[in-house]
């Protein structure tokens, strides 16, 4: 119950729900996620930390980047993802995010970080 509840809680925030859906497309580094959401980097970091401790996502270092991805070792994650897909598959916000992620690469989104420019 406790584990399940913290997973649900981790999805009960709009920004985190969006992150979760974005990560379904592909693993993303922090600055890519930052390029899509409209929150401060420190706030984003907090959200990622919470989602990780809830077992929803995983991180991995790649040079100076930290790559976040869905934690597919956790069966609950897969099942929740399927559920979300069905419920939010047609959601405009989610679709817009997905489009943004598609047109994104680490090269073009990073290095513009601190300047507040979102590409």
């Amino acid at each position: 119950m406790k584990d399940f509840l913290s997973a649900v809680k981790a999805l009960s925030d709009e920004n985190r729900m969006r992150i979760f859906c974005m990560l379904k497309q592909r693993p993303l580094c922090v600055c890519e996620i930052y390029a899509v959401l409209d929150i401060a980097l420190s706030t984003l970091s907090q959200h990622l930390k919470l989602m990780k401790s809830a077992g929803l996502i995983d991180d991995e270092k790649d040079g100076r980047w930290v790559i976040y991805s869905l934690n597919r070792k956790n069966g609950l994650v897969t099942r929740m993802m399927d559920f979300l897909d069905r419920e939010l598959g047609a959601d405009e916000r989610i679709l817009r995010d997905r489009k943004k992620v598609s047109g994104l690469s680490r090269d073009i989104c990073c290095s513009a970080l601190q300047k507040g420019k979102k590409r």
Copy 2:
């Protein structure tokens, strides 16, 4: 997205999650739910109000009682219930609640309300 999110939020609290599962068994009046959970009546009322405004549950008056039930007109409720069943079907807390609800009737749980006696 907004509707879905508020439904998820409405389930992101342990007491509300328990209420939702209890209502799957059968419609319950407030004092029956109160007999199972360990919170004040006014707190319970707040939770029910929130769940209702999220579209998860419905209420109906029956004499001096208010009977709450799952809002099955909302497709999302059914789908969420199915999901919860699979995830929490074996949860001890949920099973204990279920047992308690089975051995409950409005007659024996009410009228002991204000005295703090839980039967």
